[in-house]
Symmetry: C2
Subunit: 252 residues, 2 copies
Amino acid sequence: MKDDTAPVLTPMLRKLTLWAHLDADDERALLGLPHSLVTVPRDEPIVREGDRISHCWLVLSGFCARYKDVGDGGRQIVSIHMTGDLVDLQNALLGIADHGVLTLTACDMATFPVEAVRELTNSRPAVKDALWHDTLVDASIHREWVANLGRRDAPTRIEHLLCEFALKLEAVNLGEQLNYELPMTQHQLADATGLTVVHVNRVLQALARDGLIERVTPRSVLIGNWKRLAAAGDFRSDYLHLGSLKSRSRHR
Amino acid sequence: MKDDTAPVLTPMLRKLTLWAHLDADDERALLGLPHSLVTVPRDEPIVREGDRISHCWLVLSGFCARYKDVGDGGRQIVSIHMTGDLVDLQNALLGIADHGVLTLTACDMATFPVEAVRELTNSRPAVKDALWHDTLVDASIHREWVANLGRRDAPTRIEHLLCEFALKLEAVNLGEQLNYELPMTQHQLADATGLTVVHVNRVLQALARDGLIERVTPRSVLIGNWKRLAAAGDFRSDYLHLGSLKSRSRHR
DNA sequence: CGTTTGGTTGACGAAGCTCAAAGCCGGTGG
DNA sequence: CCACCGGCTTTGAGCTTCGTCAACCAAACG
């Protein structure tokens, strides 16, 4: 609960300082946010659409997703989150949840009372700016997803998602991530790309057949040739606004 | 340029005060933002993806849209804006545009230098909160669009969009809007719903045939039975976060 | 070992796309 | 005032992508 404990919140700090100048006091204040730590098993709904939100969640390890349910029983994943991501800040600030959150894998998470976040942002403008920026980047990613779902065919959509995933992984790990394990089932992948499981399955096989990825297990993704996959997936990383990240130069 | 001119910026103010408490000084400061007025003809790109943004735009009258171009020459509209909407605030705050903006109809617009907005938000925390909230609502709408494109079929998508449009119109006009003229061509409607012109055309006819809307001209939309259309379009207005708006109770 | 969960396959059908042409204004210029 | 033009809408025919349904398989787990 205090910043003399191990600084579990540093992943968040690292992400925020990507795009805002925080002085030592700001950082201390952020790391000192009152929080509790929770481990959530995989495939667990953390928040449901319609909930009144009093806490917001930070992913410390593992993966989770935000989603919306639609009338006919379908589900659409609207974004995917990993270490350092403040999930549900948006729900928290808006008061009532317009979307749900679920874990894709088991996750270590920290939760903050919204009021603590509010107080923090009110007392430290730089922190407010950083969090605002964070939500703006989320919105930018949403826009790209809109384009992805609206105007790209199934293979392109999946390729695009795989690229996004690789880059985000790289951003949190500070290393190359051309070889990773997808933290979701094909069903969830379908829910993220607006397709059906069956079709996702076939497209993944096609991608492997075309040499765009290699799969040793069903979930594993090895990107042999980044440029080729990015081109096929119509992927340009700009929308992630990772500007200052070194990797950006490499992944045009 | 001063608040002794006619308060052209009031539509924006009205929208922002929907969800934030602004005191008299805040309001004065907002209305006093240095701006210039521009009339933009219809179908004009105001901002292009990749532009470095120094100004942000406010719609005073008319309609415009934010869009992204995709690799194969397609275009996806990611949101639609009307009187009182601050379009491009997001691009402005992020620095370089991750999406374009174009006018759907001729528009009267005001432009502000970003720095002026920055100064304002820094000196008046309540204004910053209001603008932040505004961008959060935009993000919520993006999420709904993701769900719309990913998990609803063509008729449902279009019905949903028609509902959203009606409610937003109502929000700015403070009156019922079950009868309006769509400010876009079927081609643009297709770009908003991820469909083709041809299919949009056929679906619109089907909606009319089913009595969900009436069309006296190709663009006109008359909603005879809101509840039926909303049900068919899987439309729940919550994601618009119009909470305090009276109309909400009527349109469940 | 059964059971469960996720992945894979095949046959079939439908929603939506493509291409191509024709109709329908409203505007413009002769 | 009429003929023409260009942008938008509408129509039809044929095709493709993706969805549905229904199994079957493989690994993981108790």
